[in-house]
């Protein structure tokens, strides 16, 4: 049931037009951060205000929405955003990756491969990959325009000299179509290969920082690395305790005060689907 007190999908039409224009420029310049006039949303910054605004601008009444937070459909953030759009846009919702037409995500890409026609909306906290290396927006903007990304390679090199390998494990910087260096949002680097050549449209919204960027389908996205230290997508070296999956990204869950722990799929839909198909891990009840 749509809440009639609000416009369709909460935002007013002029705001949606402004966001839609930014999305189109973002798609035309893959990896470039388009400034937009982010609105105050009925949730605090850091809870996905950018993703929510992008979702509001792309949703149609026929869409089926899935929202995940660190891969899970059942966390507070995911549940609230799902019910927000259920109420203001009247859209159907689902937890199944395959059934969703629009997926809003915080910090994960679903395990199940996406298909053409799906839209993946990322919630982005800090869209500027160079921000922690250079705090001035005027300078980072100049660095992007001049394609001056040496500083990022120095950072990765310092990782290697200090730790023996590139220690960046999430928000691992990527280069889009050999032009813009982009922050893929804090997804684990395990998910980085899925950014490239993906059949779905990928949209990134940063509410507090007021930036939108995008990857059209089949865009080439390369994780930055060195010839002698090639990029490696890593995960905990365990099978999932519940479904026994060996290929999925795992969360480590502390189970008691005595060092007990288990590893479970971070993608709850993937894990549930596997368990329903009869797969069992060593910790399954």
């Amino acid at each position: 049931m749509t809440d009639q007190a609000y416009n369709f999908a909460y935002l007013d039409e002029q705001t949606k037009r402004m966001i839609r224009r930014a999305i189109l420029k973002g798609l035309a310049i893959p990896g470039y951060q388009v400034p937009f006039a982010s609105r105050e949303m009925p949730m605090p910054y850091g809870w996905g205000t950018g993703g929510v605004q992008v979702s509001a601008a792309v949703l149609t009444p026929e869409d089926r929405l899935k929202v995940i937070d660190q891969g899970a459909d059942d966390t507070t953030n995911a549940v609230s955003i799902r019910s927000f759009f259920q109420r203001t846009a009247g859209v159907e919702t689902t937890t199944k990756t395959a059934e969703a037409s629009v997926i809003q995500t915080r910090h994960r890409i679903p395990e199940e491969p996406l298909r053409e026609g799906q839209i993946l909306v990322y919630q982005v906290p800090i869209p500027e990959p160079l921000r922690f290396l250079e705090p001035r927006e005027s300078e980072t903007r100049k660095m992007h325009s001049l394609e001056e990304y040496g500083l990022m390679h120095v950072k990765l090199y310092e990782d290697i000299s200090r730790h023996g390998h590139i220690a960046t494990a999430y928000a691992y910087p990527v280069k889009v179509e050999a032009r813009y260096v982009m922050d893929p949002s804090p997804i684990p680097k395990f998910d980085n290969p899925k950014l490239s050549d993906n059949p779905a449209i990928q949209l990134f919204g940063a509410g507090r920082e007021q930036r939108i960027y995008a990857l059209p389908p089949w865009t080439q996205v390369a994780s930055l690395d060195f010839e002698d230290h090639p990029f490696e997508a890593s995960k905990a070296d365990h099978p999932c305790g519940l479904c026994g999956a060996t290929e999925s990204y795992l969360d480590e869950v502390i189970t008691d005060d005595a060092g007990g722990r288990m590893f479970v799929c971070s993608d709850t839909d993937h894990c549930d689907t596997r368990q329903a198909a009869g797969h069992r891990g060593k910790d399954a009840a």
Partner: protein, 189 residues
């Protein structure tokens, strides 16, 4: 103002605009694909697709350039009533609308700056027909190669060569729409 100018807008603005935007976004994300876009009935000579694109993207914040035939009192009144977009010349527009011959030369439109390549014009090009044959397209949004009946080749090659600066194009014919972003590489078939 002619009373006809008050008609032909979206019947259900929020939902019609959402559908129209999905068509435009899919077109821009997958250059060379054709999409149906309906809901608007603008005055002649505008196509329903061009009218829907205007209603979806233009408002008081977007200077609009009407080129050639499109710059007639009926269209001006319709645009003024339904979008409120200020009319301007090609050098200061965010959107331009007209037939290919009327829109040129492309060198007069803003292509963005190195710091802000998004501050560039989007051209809505009215076509007699749109088919997925003709110029060969490659680049982001295209798996292997796509084809689109573009009104030329050289102008689009030159546009793509300026990446990340450049213009983005929407092509409209009847109730159909296709798009060509600056990131697409264009060559003769």
């Amino acid at each position: 103002m002619d009373a006809h100018a008050l008609e032909g807008g979206f019947a259900d603005p929020a939902r019609d605009a959402a559908h129209a935007f999905r068509a435009i976004m899919n077109a821009m994300a997958r250059p060379g694909t054709l999409h149906d876009i309906t809901g608007a009935t603008p005055p002649a000579p505008l196509s329903p697709a061009a009218g829907a694109a205007l209603l979806t993207l233009c408002d008081t914040d977007t200077p609009l350039y009407l080129a050639g035939d499109a710059d007639c009192p009926a269209v001006r009144d319709w645009v003024a009533f339904h979008t409120g977009a200020p009319l301007t010349g090609p050098s200061h527009c965010m959107f331009a609308l007209g037939r290919w011959e009327a829109l040129g030369p492309l060198s007069t439109y803003p292509v963005g700056t190195p710091d802000y390549p998004d501050r560039s014009a989007t051209l809505i090009v009215e076509m007699d027909a749109l088919t997925d044959t003709g110029a060969r397209l490659t680049g982001p949004g295209i798996r292997d190669a796509a084809a689109l009946s573009l009104p030329g080749i050289d102008a689009f090659c030159a546009n793509a060569a300026r990446f990340p600066l450049g213009l983005d194009f929407l092509f409209t014919s009847g109730a159909q729409l296709a798009a060509l972003p600056r990131s697409t590489h264009v060559e003769a078939a």
